[in-house]
């Protein structure tokens, strides 16, 4: 890359001439990239993620999807630090089992979201470096999307993008699904076919411009009939 980047975090120029000893600190985190996206429709929800696992300049794997099935009506997408994603999903699975055994029923999407919030906040002072988005059906059968920050703050949305290309995808979704900044346009409700096509298009765009996104796209479509998975190839470069 040829831009001679010399800007430090606060915009001051750094110089390249220091040749003395540099202390390296161990960081318990690393950033493994990946983008997740969730869209809620009238009677369906879509959770999609790319399948690239990277670290620094390398790609560890081209087939590491970031969507995890939790129950028949809920899928979670986790991006950020892969180690924490794995541990977090294991913890959620364990808690789901415990709930099922104590209460003799499956957790609803809203309940899973509330539980995840407290799990994340429990590590307030050494957070799980994970950006979560839950997609599923609520008790009435309508699509629900819950998006989180690393320490557990959450809210219910209609659509949300998270992960490395989120800043690129979110404005596009705002326009196409939220009809923001459009004058004189009919606000048609989103059909499942249109939503799936939009998700595919949006990830193709993300793979063009974000180095951490690409390889393949895994789409999980949640409806009352269950969860359907689809894999679509993306740019591998």
């Amino acid at each position: 890359m040829f831009a001679t980047q010399v800007y430090g975090d606060n915009g001051k120029m750094k110089e390249y001439h220091y040749t003395g000893p540099v202390e390296h600190r161990f960081s318990p985190y690393s950033f493994n990239g990946g983008t997740v996206l969730a869209v809620a429709g009238e009677d369906f929800a879509i959770v999609a993620s790319d399948t690239r696992l990277s670290e620094g300049y390398s790609i560890h794997s081209r087939d590491s999807p970031k969507c995890y099935k939790l129950t028949d009506t809920t899928v979670i997408g986790c991006s950020g630090f892969h180690g924490d994603c794995l541990t977090l999903t294991k913890i959620i699975d364990a808690r789901l089992k415990m709930y099922k055994h104590s209460n003799n029923k499956c957790m609803t999407s809203g309940a899973i979201a509330a539980m995840l919030s407290t799990i994340l906040y429990g590590r307030r002072f050494f957070p799980y470096y994970v950006y979560n988005i839950i997609g599923g059906l609520d008790e009435e059968g309508k699509g629900a999307v819950y998006s989180f920050d690393p320490v557990g703050s959450y809210q219910r949305d209609t659509y949300k993008a998270g992960g490395s290309a989120s800043a690129m995808l979110q404005p596009l979704l705002d326009n196409q699904i939220g009809f923001k900044n459009m004058e004189g346009v009919q606000h048609l409700p989103l059909s499942q076919e249109k939503a799936v096509q939009l998700v595919k298009d949006v990830f193709i765009s993300a793979a063009e411009r974000d180095v951490y996104t690409g390889d393949a796209l895994r789409i999980c479509i949640v409806t009352k009939d269950g969860i359907k998975e689809e894999t679509v190839p993306l740019r591998k470069d």
Binding site: G8, K12, S27, R124, P127, F148, S153, Q155, D157
Partner: protein
């Protein structure tokens, strides 16, 4: 992200870790291998740490609370008005954040600072208030509720919690309004505005409150106007204005207005 933060660029100060790990930050300042070349004459004996940018004391920069929330008492209760923007650095993470937390049907809490901190502790406060009600067979007072919250977060003072909240309600002694924050402040008052846009909001409310007795509608209008003006001038506030009114029977949600619509409405009124 749902509230990557209501204020700071990280809901927790990742210090040395987060800066290198943010995927969507521009590639301008990512040095993948963690080796930072920092300037300095070669005679210096100081060992630079990998993550020092040569500005040691500036490392923990206190970001302003990117929000505007306000509450004021008046003749007929308390008006609570908030914006709905959440920012992560310069990225607007969400324009639809609920910054008023409904603790119970007659108590409200506002959110400024770390979103997770505010919602978690106020949810815990709701639980404590309910326990109080069950034990004492009467509603908790606003003073007691705010004290519970203040004491809860005081135990974590210095550990990095960020919370600036106003507890608003109506109890036996009439309307109640307290400001509680994670530094340990707990102050009773008639008017508070919290956040980066607070100064602009104070200007509007102070001038509007000159006439002592406002009707409910005038007060709601004033609150709405104050938040709108704050979003107009403060880059970190925006989205929608959520307005609540607390009266003797409890609180009710007056309105939720998009700032763009308000702008057009006020422009039309001016003409």
């Amino acid at each position: 992200m749902a509230l990557a933060n209501v204020l700071q660029s990280e809901s927790v100060d990742f210090s040395n870790y987060g800066r290198k790990c943010r995927g969507f930050s521009s590639s301008l300042y990512e040095t993948e291998l963690g080796l930072e070349s920092v300037g300095g004459d070669n005679l210096s004996f100081a060992v630079r740490t990998a993550c020092s940018d040569g500005d040691g004391p500036e490392r923990k920069i206190q970001f302003l609370h990117g929000t505007t929330t306000l509450a004021f008492k008046f003749q007929h209760g308390v008006i609570v008005a908030v914006d709905s923007r959440a920012t992560a650095g310069a990225y607007i993470a969400s324009q639809t954040v609920k910054k008023v937390i409904e603790i119970n049907p007659y108590l409200l809490g506002t959110m400024a600072g770390g979103a997770a901190d505010c919602s978690f502790w106020e949810r815990l406060l709701a639980r404590q208030c309910r326990v109080y009600e069950l034990r004492n067979k009467e509603r908790i007072s606003v003073a007691a509720a705010s004290k519970l919250l203040a004491n809860m977060v005081y135990q974590y003072k210095g550990m990095g919690l960020s919370m600036g909240t106003m507890v608003c309600g109506w109890d036996k002694t009439g309307p109640g309004l307290y400001y509680v924050d994670s530094e340990g402040n707990r102050v009773c008052g008639d008017l508070f505005a919290v956040g980066s846009g607070s100064m602009y909001a104070y200007g509007i409310v102070d001038s509007g409150l000159k006439q002592k007795d406002l009707t409910v509608e005038e007060a709601c209008d004033l609150g709405c106007r104050a938040i709108y003006q704050a979003t107009y001038r403060d880059a970190y506030s925006g989205g929608q204005v959520n307005l609540y009114h607390v009266h003797s029977e409890g609180w009710n949600r007056v309105s939720q207005s998009d700032v763009l619509m308000l702008h057009q409405q006020y422009q039309a009124e001016k003409a």
